[in-house]
């Protein structure tokens, strides 16, 4: 079983009230030096069977038609490499 991650973020030109609320709060919490925050969604999909090109294409279609609202959002699909230890450095494929 492999995990595919779909990141969905508002397009850069679209207002992101959530990210802004976070950013405005940071200095008040004593954290300086963060010049911008954007908040989006992360989906983790567990795929049965091999994650070959066909499967990835299908997931990209899911992302495009369903997980993201492409009127206002961009998305990014990538395979998450098996991580025995999530703290370890791991190389990743980015689609």
């Amino acid at each position: 079983m492999a995990r595919v991650v779909v990141d969905v973020m508002l397009k850069p030109e679209i207002l992101d009230p959530q990210g802004q609320a976070v950013q405005r709060a940071l200095p008040r919490l004593g954290f300086e030096g963060i010049s911008d925050v954007r908040q989006g969604k992360r989906f983790e999909l567990e795929v049965e069977g091999p994650v070959d090109d066909a499967a990835l294409a299908r997931i990209r279609e899911i992302a495009e038609t369903f997980l993201a609202n492409t009127v206002i959002e961009d998305f990014d699909v990538r395979i998450e490499a098996d991580q025995a230890d999530s703290a370890a450095l791991a190389a990743k494929a980015e689609s």
Binding site: P17, Q18, A21, V22, A25, R28, L29, Q39
Partner: protein, 226 residues
């Protein structure tokens, strides 16, 4: 004796004016408190009202928790001052860890507004003395992040110590674990619940019932008895 109840306004708080009204209807004095002020103006009790503080944009209650006024509230709550968190206020109380657990998106994922039946499970907290153990009350519920969760150990502890103060009856409107609608801290002075007693203090208005008035008269009882 006049009992002074502070009602906090955070940016995005909605039910502050309603809560002040409820406090007045119960015969107490309502004292507006502002999130930027540490000064609690010598109130005898504090209510954190409902709403969408900071839009609930990160998580409900997450940003308000860091406000100056909350520093004072946390200190006073630990010293025994009665604190009531309604809806968003309950969420703030869990975010500050004055109350255990957390509030998540409703299991059906929608905002829900309904008349909700509750069972009073603990009539000895600072905010429930006007009720009887086991009494059923009906007050409005309205939220999108109302699903109470905590781990099993915490839930067992809450049950064992009688700290589940309200449970949903007839319908569990949001998937809260063990039908929990409201809880209290160990000392019984801090209470949080999702439904809105302040919307049920006058006949005709809202549900047309006055089942919520008891919260505010309880605090009078508690402070006069003390």
């Amino acid at each position: 004796m006049t009992v002074r109840v502070g009602v906090i306004t955070f940016p995005g708080t909605l039910d502050d004016r309603d809560t002040q009204r409820a406090v007045r209807v119960a015969g107490l004095e309502a004292v507006p408190l502002w999130h930027r002020d540490k000064d609690l103006k010598q109130v005898d009790a504090v209510v954190l009202p409902g709403g969408f503080s900071y839009g609930d944009y990160l998580r409900a209650g997450a940003i308000s928790r860091f406000s100056p006024v909350m520093e004072s509230v946390i200190g006073q709550a630990k010293a025994g001052m009665p604190v009531l968190g309604i809806c968003n206020g309950f969420q703030v109380l869990t975010e500050t860890h004055l109350l255990p657990g957390a509030m998540l998106r409703n299991n059906h994922l929608h905002f829900i507004c309904r008349d909700q039946k509750l069972r009073v499970e603990n009539a000895e907290t600072a905010w429930t003395r006007s009720y009887e153990q086991g009494q059923e009350i009906n007050i409005p519920l309205k939220n999108i992040d109302g699903r109470y969760v905590a781990d099993e150990r915490v839930l067992d502890e809450l049950e064992a110590e009688g700290r589940v103060v309200f449970r949903y009856r007839d319908v569990n409107p949001n998937g809260s674990l063990r039908d929990i609608a409201g809880i209290t801290n160990e000392a019984g002075n801090v209470v949080g619940l999702m439904p809105h007693p302040e919307h049920a203090v006058e006949p005709l208005i809202g549900t047309g019932r006055t089942d919520g008035l008891g919260f505010f008269t309880s605090i009078l009882k508690k402070l006069v008895d003390a």
